[in-house]
Amino acid sequence: MSLEDAVPYLIVLAKCVFAVAFVMNIVPLLIWAERKGSAYIQDRPGPNRADILGIRAGGLVHTLVDVVKLIMKEDILPSHVNWFYWFIAPVIAMSVALSTFVVVPFGDTFLGVDLRVSAMDGGLLYVLAMTSLGVYGIMLAGWASNNKFSLLGGLRASSQMVSYELAMGLSAAVIFLGAGSVSLQEIVGQQAGGLWNWNVVSVPGFIAFVLFWTAAFAETNRTPFDLPEGEAELVAGYHTEYSSLRFALFFMAEYANMIVAASVTTTLFFGGYNVGIPGLDGVGIRAHADLLVAGAGFLAVPAFLFFAFVAWKRQSRPFYKALAADDIRHREPKFFMALWVGAAVAHAGLGVVGLLGLPSQLAIGDMVIGPDLVAFVVQLTAFSLKVLFGCWFFIWVRWTIVRFRYDQLMNLGWKRMLPLALANLFLAAIWVIIKESYLT
């Protein structure tokens, strides 16, 4: 097999690596946001102790320390578990969470390569199928742990998943009723050309979004629907018996599920990778690549200078004044000042490069990759920002709303959301008929 034949496989491999890296790199960031965000909501300073050479980075280092801790801990296999299912449960939870991401488009094309791992046409159906599989990890963990609390957690997870999947599927049906396709790339493509083209900007679309998003909380087992974990009633629910890296897998799977849920919601309702500004769709970005690079470069400069100013101002905090003269933590404000000033200089340089018109001419040999690279970066940034906001919303809600009681959860799912989703589907069907018959 020559190198030419291997290229398609290498492309698929590269996209797989990218998708996994995308999810796995956001996970530590989310754990940090969860800790610091909850602390700030509750008027606490939050994690701020662990440091690397005096750089504490607002508690980001704690996440790294946590990983080391979880790896070094003893991996306990309780004697009473069904070991086979007990072993594969965290693997299922994690792998299902990661594999859902493969159909989500994170850009249109790069040098003719479709920017999603799998270019399947039934993308939305695949997402619904995989999210349903996600409950197996939790259910198996609860059952195989051979422990009444874990079993209750697993039971709750499965019944909750069944209840909310209906509302979720019916809300997603609203989208593919309007789009006429279940391919996520096509659904995103139809939302190009401005904010008002996003699916969320319509009456049935908005109701569908609210229902879908609420159901996503139940699917990812996040508060207010985190009854499977329910630490007040069930110790830790389905992962009570797990320790060390197996617990970490469940922990990461929860965050990976959040990222996937946010990605799917972004794709269905918020225009996916579209920037939301008219003229800046796939063609527009490539045509204005130089201008975009110059604008982004120069606009970022004041932001970074502001960050540097904040770092400079932090030097006079009472905390730094109380430190001994030779404490290494005195480096921290200086480090961040240097970092942000350096970033400002780098972005000013990027702006100059854009003004000179270099990005659109960037090429490897005869292959001009500049415009495509700019489009990729811009679209990936838009997509990531939307996903990160979605993930932050999960965290924000967790520290705002208390857990539902189990009967309230079931009432909400069956008596409120399901009828509403059905009515909304009916409304959406009428909407589509009106749009196709009279508005076009």
Binding site: Y40, I41, D43, N48, R317, A324, W396, V397, T400, L412
Partner: protein, 188 residues
């Protein structure tokens, strides 16, 4: 038989949940914004770098007072071990050959592991020989034996016999206590 829990029927907007959720989110976000803008107003004190100023009446580790000539004020009258509810004070009295009129403590030990910091010893002392005004609360050691504070330790407590303790004192006081001076070099 379960007790009835008083509850109110939700009105229409409350039973929709959504508007209530938005109100809650606005409340939590207002806390986040406030705390990001001003990271120094938390009630949490970043111990050990920053410390809470202790109240004037705070009862910390004991110290023994001395007279201007350098002898301890204590006359070994045994009031404090008598009143001590934890029975943590041990005094061995002796006579000063140069001044046979007065007793003095040959040994004065306080077992800090037993002490309950009630301050009765300070109240009982007729000579103002024992005080708990050091505001030292970091009383720790690696062995049980080291937790027994002896006479010389308690006399020199403010003189830098235990540097960390003096650091605590300096953190809470602008000036050295009567009859003492701080070292030039800051320790904390």
């Amino acid at each position: 038989m379960a007790l009835p829990v008083p509850s109110r029927k939700l009105n229409v907007s409350e039973s929709m949940y959504l508007w209530e959720v938005v109100k809650g989110l606005a409340l939590t976000m207002s806390h986040i914004v406030k705390n990001i803008l001003d990271p120094d107003h938390f009630r949490t004190v970043e111990y050990p770098e920053l410390r809470k100023p202790m109240a004037a009446r705070y009862r910390g580790a004991h110290r023994l007072m001395v007279r201007p000539d350098g002898k301890v004020k204590c006359v070994a009258c045994m009031c404090c071990p008598t009143v001590c509810p934890a029975k943590c004070i041990t005094i061995i009295a002796g006579e000063d050959p140069n001044d046979p009129a007065e007793k003095f403590p040959v040994e004065f030990d306080i077992d800090m592991l037993r002490c309950i910091y009630c301050g009765f010893c300070v109240e009982a002392c007729p000579k103002d020989a024992i005080r708990m005004d050091t505001r030292i609360y970091e009383i720790n050691a690696f062995t049980r034996q080291d937790m027994v504070h002896n006479k010389s330790y308690m006399v020199n407590l403010m003189d830098g016999a235990k540097p960390r303790a003096e650091g605590v004192y300096r953190a809470n006081h602008a000036q050295a206590p009567d009859g003492y001076t701080f070292d030039e070099k800051p320790i904390l």
